[in-house]
C-alpha cells in the first residue's frame, strides 16, 4: 500500500470513530479537509441547515454517543460547513445583494445588477468587454455612480390633503411617453441577443418608452421601427464626407424618424484599453468571430448600406455644423454629449432642439465629472428653452428621480437594458424597465409627488461624501 492510500485509510478510520467528535477541536485545521473528504457524502437531510432547525452536525457525529454529540455541538461552530445552494444562509443573500445574482429567469431579478450577472454569464467575453468597458481607469464610470450616490433624497411624509394618482408621462419634442426613462443608443445589440434592437424596441413599445437607435446598430432603422410600431429617434456619428451624412439622414427621415441625435463626445476619439486587450491577436479575424463579423463578402452594417455615391464637402466639426445638420432635414436635432453651460448656450444658439447631457457612459473621456453634477449648470443655462436629457450611470429609480429633480426632462439608460437583453432578450429589457419604474414610483410615493412636474430640486440635497456600498472588485455593480 502506498503512503497516500495508507493516509486515506487512517482518515477514514478517524472519521468513522465516535472519538472523532471529541477530537475535532484538537485536530489541526489542515487535517480537517481530508477528514471531511473521507466521510461519505451526506444526503440533504443531514446537511447542516442554519435556518431550518436541523442539527448542525456531520453525519458521523450524529451517530456517535450522546456525550460526544453534546461535545461536538459545543464545537460545531469550529467545523467547516458545506451548505447547498438551496439553503442559502443570510450571509450569502447579503453577498448577492452587493454583487448581483446570476438569475435564470427575468422574474428572479430583483435589481438591474442581477441581470448584469446573468448577461455576463451568457455572453462572449469579448462582447461583454465591449459593453463593460470605460476608458483609461474607469474614473468617469465610477464618477457617474458616485455622483448619484452623493445626492440624497429629501422626502415628504404627510400632505395637507389626500394625494392620489401617479402620472409618470412626459412630453418631449412633440411626443408623449408613459415613462421618463428612455433607451440610449448602444451599438451592436445583436452581439448580446439575436433579437437585437428589435427586442429592445418591443420592450420600449410595451412601456411606451422613447428609444434612440445607435448609428452602429445590428438592424436597420426600418426593421427596428417595425418592431416598435412607431418611428424612433436616431443617433448619428457623422462622417467627414457630408454627402454620406445627407444620404443617411434622408433614409431615416423617409422612414419617419422624428428626431436626429448627434453624438459629439467622441469626435476626439477614446482610449478603450479593455477592448484593445480583449481583441488582441486575431481580433475579429478569428474563426469564431467570423461566424458573425463580416463573414459575408462585402458586408456592411445595416445603417451603412446604400450610402455609397459621389463624395461631397468635408466641413469641419464646428458650431456651424450644428446648423448644417439642423437644415438637412425636418427632423428635430439633439446634441448628445454636452456637459457645460457654455456649450449648452451655444447649442441652442445654433439650432439644437434639445440638449443631451452625457459623457457616453464613461466610454469617451477619462476623468470626466458625473453627468448628474453637470446637469444643474446646463439646466440653468438652458432656462427652459429646450428639453434637457441626461444619461450615464443611471441604475435605480431613485437615480431617475434625482435627475428629474435637478431639471432633466428625460433620463436615459444604456448598459442596464443591454444587461436585460443579453440575459433574456426582450423579456429581460422588459424586466429592467419594470424594475426601474417600480423603484421610481416608490420614490414618487415617498416624496408625495404625483407627476414629473412636481419633482423639484427641493426633493434632493447633496451629501457630504460619496457612498459606495456595492462590491466592485471584479467590475460588477457600476
Amino acid at each position: 500500500m502506498d503512503q497516500g492510500a495508507s493516509r486515506r485509510q487512517f482518515f477514514k478510520f478517524l472519521a468513522a470513530s465516535p472519538l472523532a467528535a471529541l477530537a475535532y477541536s484538537a485536530i489541526p485545521s489542515g487535517w480537517l479537509e481530508p477528514l471531511e473528504g473521507a466521510v461519505p457524502p451526506a444526503g440533504p437531510a443531514t446537511v447542516p441547515c442554519i435556518n431550518c432547525g436541523a442539527p448542525a452536525l456531520p453525519a458521523t457525529v450524529a451517530s456517535a454517543s450522546s456525550a460526544s454529540i453534546a461535545s461536538a455541538a459545543r464545537n460545531a461552530s469550529t467545523l467547516p460547513r458545506r451548505v447547498t445552494p438551496q439553503e442559502l444562509p443570510p450571509q450569502e443573500a447579503q453577498e448577492e445583494q452587493l454583487t448581483g445574482s446570476a438569475v435564470s429567469s427575468p422574474d428572479e431579478a430583483i435589481n438591474v445588477w442581477d441581470l448584469e450577472r446573468a448577461a455576463h454569464d451568457n455572453n462572449l467575453a469579448q462582447h461583454w468587454d465591449y459593453l463593460h468597458m470605460g476608458v483609461d481607469d474607469y474614473e468617469t464610470r465610477v464618477a457617474n455612480r458616485e455622483g448619484f450616490q452623493r445626492l440624497m433624497l429629501r422626502p415628504r411624509r404627510l400632505a395637507s390633503e389626500a394625494r392620489t394618482g401617479q402620472d409618470t408621462s412626459i412630453d418631449i419634442l412633440g411626443q408623449q411617453f408613459d415613462t421618463p426613462i428612455f433607451l440610449c443608443p448602444v451599438g451592436s445589440l445583436g452581439a448580446y441577443h439575436t433579437q437585437a434592437e428589435a427586442g429592445a424596441a418591443r420592450a420600449a413599445r410595451a412601456h411606451n418608452a422613447m428609444q434612440m437607435q445607435s448609428n452602429v446598430s445590428t438592424m436597420g432603422y426600418e426593421e427596428i421601427a417595425e418592431a416598435r410600431g412607431t418611428p424612433h429617434w436616431f443617433q448619428i456619428y457623422t462622417n467627414p464626407d457630408w454627402n454620406r451624412n445627407q444620404r443617411l439622414i434622408d433614409r431615416v427621415a423617409a422612414a419617419g424618424c422624428p428626431t436626429l441625435v448627434w453624438t459629439i463626445d467622441l469626435l476626439g476619439g477614446s482610449n478603450r484599453e479593455l477592448s484593445r486587450r480583449s481583441l488582441y491577436g486575431e481580433g475579429t479575424d478569428s474563426q469564431l468571430c467570423q461566424q458573425c463579423h463580416n463573414h459575408v463578402p462585402g458586408y456592411q452594417r445595416p445603417m451603412a448600406q446604400g450610402l455609397d455615391g459621389p463624395s461631397g464637402e468635408r466641413p469641419p466639426y464646428t458650431w456651424d455644423y450644428v446648423s448644417r445638420l439642423k437644415d438637412a432635414s425636418e427632423m428635430s436635432l439633439v446634441l448628445k454629449g454636452i456637459t457645460t453651460a457654455e456649450e449648452a448656450e451655444l447649442a441652442i444658439e445654433h439650432g439644437a432642439d434639445a440638449i443631451h447631457v452625457s459623457n457616453h457612459g464613461g466610454r469617451a473621456v477619462n476623468s470626466m465629472w458625473a453627468t448628474i453634477d453637470a446637469l444643474p449648470e446646463v439646466v440653468q443655462a438652458v432656462r427652459g428653452r429646450v428639453p434637457v436629457l441626461i444619461d450615464s450611470g443611471i441604475r435605480r429609480g431613485s437615480d431617475v428621480f434625482k435627475a428629474l429633480a435637478l431639471g432633466a426632462d428625460a433620463v436615459g439608460i444604456g448598459r442596464p437594458y443591454v444587461w436585460g437583453l443579453g440575459a433574456f432578450g426582450e423579456d429581460g429589457v422588459n424586466r429592467v424597465l419594470d424594475i426601474m419604474m417600480a423603484e421610481f414610483r416608490m420614490v414618487m410615493r415617498q416624496t408625495l409627488t404625483r407627476s414629473i412636474d412636481e419633482i423639484t430640486p427641493r426633493h434632493v440635497m447633496e451629501a457630504r461624501n460619496p457612498i459606495m456600498t456595492r462590491h466592485n472588485e471584479f467590475g460588477f455593480g457600476l
Binding site: 455572453n123 462572449l124 439575436t194 433579437q195
Partner: protein, 191 residues
C-alpha cells in the same frame, strides 16, 4: 313511385340528414388554431431566439371553468412542426434542426392532462414530447377572452438534455449552446 312515396322518401331523407347534423353538432368540437411558439436560450456567445407557427387544438367542455372557457376544456393539444423553425441566421437554424432531427421526429407535442384555473388563467399539466422522450410538465397559462377567441400566453422553461436533445456545439466547442431553454406560446385559440 307515386308522388306520395316520393314525398315520404324525400321527407325521410331530410329528417335523417337533419338528425345527422344534430348528432354531429351535439358532441364536443375540437377547434384548431395557429399559434406562435418562441424558443429562447443562451450560449457561450449570446442569447438566441427561434420562432415557429404551430397549432393549438382545443375541445371545450367537461372541465372546471377557466377564463374564456366557461364550460371548461375537455382536451387540448399543442403541436410544433419542427422543420418550420425560423432562426435569425441560417447556420443557427441548421444547428437547431441537426439537434432536433425533424426527419425522425417531425413534431413537438404537448398533450393536456389537467389544469387548475387561476385568477387570470390556468396552470396546465400534461405530457411534453420532444424527440422520443415524453415528460410531464406543468406551466402557467394566461387566458383572456377576446372577440376572436381566447388569447393564450405562457412560458415553459426546460432543460433540453432531459429530452435527449444534444445542445448544439459548434466549431469544436468554441460556441456551445446552453441546455436551459424557454418555450413561449402566444396566440388566439378559436372557440
Amino acid at each position: 313511385m307515386t308522388r306520395t312515396d316520393m314525398t315520404l322518401r324525400c321527407g325521410w331523407s331530410v329528417a335523417v340528414g337533419l338528425m345527422g347534423l344534430v348528432l354531429v353538432h351535439s358532441g364536443p368540437v375540437a377547434a384548431q388554431s395557429a399559434v406562435d411558439f418562441t424558443v429562447s436560450g443562451n450560449s457561450t456567445i449570446r442569447g438566441w431566439t427561434c420562432t415557429v407557427v404551430g397549432t393549438a387544438e382545443v375541445t371545450e367542455g367537461s372541465g372546471p371553468a377557466a377564463p374564456g372557457f366557461d364550460d371548461g376544456v375537455q382536451s387540448a393539444t399543442l403541436t410544433v412542426p419542427v422543420a418550420n423553425f425560423e432562426c435569425p441566421q441560417d447556420e443557427m437554424r441548421e444547428h437547431l434542426l441537426e439537434a432536433m432531427r425533424p426527419d425522425e421526429f417531425p413534431e413537438i407535442t404537448f398533450q393536456l392532462d389537467g389544469y387548475e384555473a387561476t385568477g387570470q388563467g390556468a396552470t396546465a399539466t400534461g405530457r411534453l414530447t420532444i424527440l422520443d422522450a415524453t415528460r410531464e410538465v406543468s406551466f402557467p397559462l394566461m387566458l383572456a377572452p377576446t372577440g376572436a377567441g381566447v388569447r393564450i400566453e405562457g412560458a415553459l422553461p426546460l432543460d433540453m438534455t432531459d429530452y435527449g436533445v444534444e445542445p448544439p456545439n459548434v466549431m469544436l466547442g468554441l460556441m456551445v449552446v446552453r441546455p436551459a431553454i424557454r418555450i413561449e406560446i402566444s396566440g388566439i385559440v378559436a372557440r
